[in-house]
């Protein structure tokens, strides 16, 4: 691996790992707050047992999220010192506000996890609400930093008169609100379906009591509510990409030639050398419509992009397909659950087809989350800051990339194995 590829691999691997736990850090507190609320409302002790078990899982998952997030804060400087030197003061405000939000989350998660016997029930429930709110706020705020890399508003001022640049510029980015909403919703969808898959698996193996049915219901509701709104936020995101990063849209859709009435490509394997797409289905005009609201609109193709500025086409296109496919699968499975729950509530825990579908949907939220992230970041290449700084110019001059890549690969892999073994043993008490 070249020096640059090694640095990119380490950053991608660290973020890939961190995102799993960061998403759970957003989603699990919402589940906890819901279970605690239901316990307060109904006095049904089963909700308390649910919250207790989820809290034990969250304690471990949140810790891994916190330490791997520290890794990201360090690695930004260790791997990309030139990027942080140039952009640190501009994206720093996003990290500063995220820092306050995350600090609040870390304080209240301590209060929530260890404070049950030391607080009145309502106060204790409120600590879980504080964790959920500050967790969502961290996610929304930190996305502003990434959105700026996609659409660096104020970059000319930063270059010519940095002293005149408003520190709030990172929050004035039209990319940010939709990106923040889309990726934060993805955390709820990923958590909701992952948790519901665990319970569906248990029900297939005979653990069908009412406690687990309640757990399944809370998790699917959260996952489904997020998943059904995501095609909408995704559609707005695609329009924003079309406006600000047409090159990325061309890569997502493997559109080699600029054209009107551009088709939406379903599936297909693009060949970067020949400019052909194999084995895909084209829906005429739909890409033009989705990107610009008119079937006849012209969509820019990769022929307008210098060859050395193309991102990794198969990776970006296939990740985009995976994200959309996994996202739609979650919606369908979630709606099917809602149908069964509504028409034949007694069958939820017995309907093996439903349970198997929920098990299959369990990783879909994470597949969509990680694939969407790959679309956003691999699609940004070769730029670290869109059209302003090449990734190759951001990388550290330090040697020693190989041991650090090997070390972090081994470290996170070992932690993942240990965590899976630990969570497998977790049971409702």
């Amino acid at each position: 691996m070249s020096h640059l590829d090694a640095a990119r691999f380490q950053m991608a691997y660290s973020l890939f790992f961190h995102m799993i736990f960061a998403a759970l850090g957003v989603g699990m507190p919402a589940l906890l707050a819901a279970a605690e609320y239901l316990h307060l409302r109904t006095k049904d002790p089963q909700y308390l047992r649910l919250a207790g078990t989820w809290a034990r899982a969250t304690a471990v998952l949140f810790a891994i999220g916190a330490v791997s997030g520290t890794g990201i804060a360090f690695e930004l400087g260790l791997l990309w010192p030139e990027f942080m030197h140039f952009a640190g003061s501009t994206i720093g405000p996003a990290f500063t506000l995220e820092g306050y939000a995350f600090f609040t989350e870390a304080i209240f998660i301590g209060l929530y996890l260890y404070g049950r016997d030391r607080m009145r029930p309502v106060a204790h429930w409120l600590t879980s609400v504080a964790v959920a709110v500050s967790g969502a706020a961290s996610s929304v705020l930190v996305t502003a930093a990434n959105a700026w890399m996609q659409n660096p508003v104020g970059i000319e001022t930063l270059r010519s008169h940095p002293e005149a640049l408003s520190p709030w510029v990172v929050f004035t980015n039209p990319h940010w609100p939709i990106m923040a909403l889309h990726s934060t919703l993805a955390c709820y969808a990923a958590t909701g379906f992952a948790v519901s898959g665990v319970y569906a698996w248990g029900m297939l193996r005979g653990r069908t009591d009412s406690l687990r049915q309640k757990a399944l219901q809370i998790a699917v509701i959260m996952g489904l509510l997020a998943a059904v709104t995501m095609p909408l936020t995704g559609d707005v995101s695609a329009k924003v990409v079309a406006r600000h990063q047409p090159e990325k849209l061309a890569a997502m859709e493997a559109l080699f030639v600029t054209r009107t009435r551009a088709p939406l490509l379903i599936g297909g394997l693009p060949d970067q050398e020949t400019g052909k797409v194999c084995c895909g289905v084209e829906l005429p005009g739909l890409l033009s419509f989705l990107a610009y609201g008119a079937l006849d609109a012209e969509v820019m193709g990769l022929d307008q992009v210098p060859r050395d500025e193309w991102p990794n086409l198969p990776l970006v296109h296939l990740s985009f397909q995976l994200m959309v496919g996994a996202g739609l699968a979650m919606v369908l499975v979630g709606l099917y659950y809602a149908w069964v729950r509504w028409r034949r509530p007694a069958d939820v825990a017995r309907d093996r087809r439903l349970l198997w579908l929920l098990v299959i949907a369990a990783p879909m939220g994470y597949l969509a989350l990680e694939a969407g992230w790959i679309v956003a970041e691999a699609g940004r290449q070769p730029w670290t800051i869109w059209k302003a700084m090449l990734t190759a110019d951001a990388v550290t001059p330090s040697g020693g990339m190989d041991p650090s890549v090997a070390g972090f690969t081994a470290l996170y892999a070992a932690l993942a194995v240990a965590l899976v073994l630990l969570l497998r043993r977790l049971r409702h008490e």
């Binding site: 810790a63 301590g110 330090s398």
Partner: protein, 337 residues
């Protein structure tokens, strides 16, 4: 408020960073120390020691850890030139620190999810302890490195590190060891307040021992400073060496004496003050350099108004953080179990 608005913003931001670093040293330092005592736990009551440490750390360690993230964020938001140079110079060191931080946190959380004496608890305990001992040593090395003059940043931006001066000098090693000893001392002192009976006596003895080790390390380090870190030494002793050095020594004696005579609350207050004075001394000696001798705080500061952003949003951030922290420590640390 008048003082706040007339303050040189660079000085203000550096002060905020120093305060955050102090909070990290005192609070997370004690958590690292908890890991050290977990590793060193011996005797008939070792399981009680481990449980007391886990109980004391459980609710607060993650919040304590965030102070470090806060320091890093201020560093790259306000002093990006310094962050860049440290990122390059500390490529290896900070990677090791990261592995230590990740392993410490993960091992503590994995262990806490298991019951005492399970296989899992026995597997992760040594990882938790060892990473808690090594990480503060590495952070002490980093502190020595930015003061020692071994990191040079050439006019074109090239960063050069003299490994002998930076990593293997006696001063660096001693500062690393001193940091580790400080963590152990803080933890033992804090634990005397949070335990009772024989366990409390055990931690009292551990506090006195680690305090003595800390004193010996400081006594070995001081004579080396004038030659190894002349800039730092010159600042420390001007106009007179008295205030900081004597203040630190007096507080060290006070905290040890208070622990010896079982006035644990006083001992805890004096130990905290001792760390604050130690870090203040280092900061005063270091000023105006972020990385001696090529990067000053003013030189490293971003041209943009990110400093004003930090200082202006800080009161609002603290409006949320301080009551939350107060609640956290009131709920878990106010009464003694």
């Amino acid at each position: 408020m008048h003082l706040w608005s007339t303050l040189d913003p660079v000085v203000g931001a550096a002060l905020v960073m120093l305060l955050a670093l102090m909070a990290y040293a005192v609070l997370a330092g004690a958590d690292f120390g908890g890991g050290i005592w977990d590793l060193l736990a011996t005797g008939p009551r070792q399981e009680q020691h481990r449980q007391a440490i886990a109980r004391a750390m459980g609710p607060v360690w993650e919040a304590n850890h965030v102070w470090l993230i806060f320091v890093i964020v201020i560093l790259f938001t306000v002093f990006p030139t310094g962050y860049r140079a440290l990122g390059i110079a500390f490529f290896g060191l900070f990677h090791l620190v990261l592995i230590g931080i990740v392993l410490r946190g993960a091992a503590f959380a994995f262990r806490a999810a298991a019951s005492g004496e399970s296989r899992q608890w026995r597997l992760w305990s040594p990882v938790f302890g060892a990473s808690s001992a090594v990480t503060p040593f590495l952070l002490g090395l980093a502190a020595a490195a930015v003061s020692g003059g071994g990191i040079r940043v050439l006019p074109g931006g090239t960063v050069q590190v003299d490994p002998i001066l930076t990593w293997y000098s006696p001063v660096s090693i001693l500062m690393g060891l001193l940091t580790t000893a400080m963590c152990a001392y803080l933890a033992a002192v804090f634990l005397t307040v949070e335990t009772r009976g024989e366990v409390q006596e055990d931690f009292r003895r551990r506090a006195l021992w680690s305090g003595a080790v800390m004193g010996l390390l400081a006594a070995a380090l001081l004579p080396l400073l004038p030659a190894a870190m002349p800039h730092l030494w010159e600042h420390l002793t001007r106009p007179a060496p008295a205030p900081i050095l004597l203040g630190g020594a007096a507080l060290a004696l006070l905290s040890a004496a208070a622990i010896y005579t079982r006035r644990y609350l006083l001992g805890r207050a004096a130990a905290v003050a001792q760390v604050v004075v130690l870090l203040s001394g280092w900061a005063v000696g270091q000023w105006p350099y972020l990385i001696y001798p090529d990067i000053t705080f003013h030189g490293a500061a971003a041209a943009g108004p990110s400093i004003r952003f930090l200082l202006q949003t800080l009161p609002f951030g603290l409006l949320v953080l301080l009551p939350s922290l107060w609640l956290l420590f009131r709920v878990f640390k106010a009464e003694v179990r």
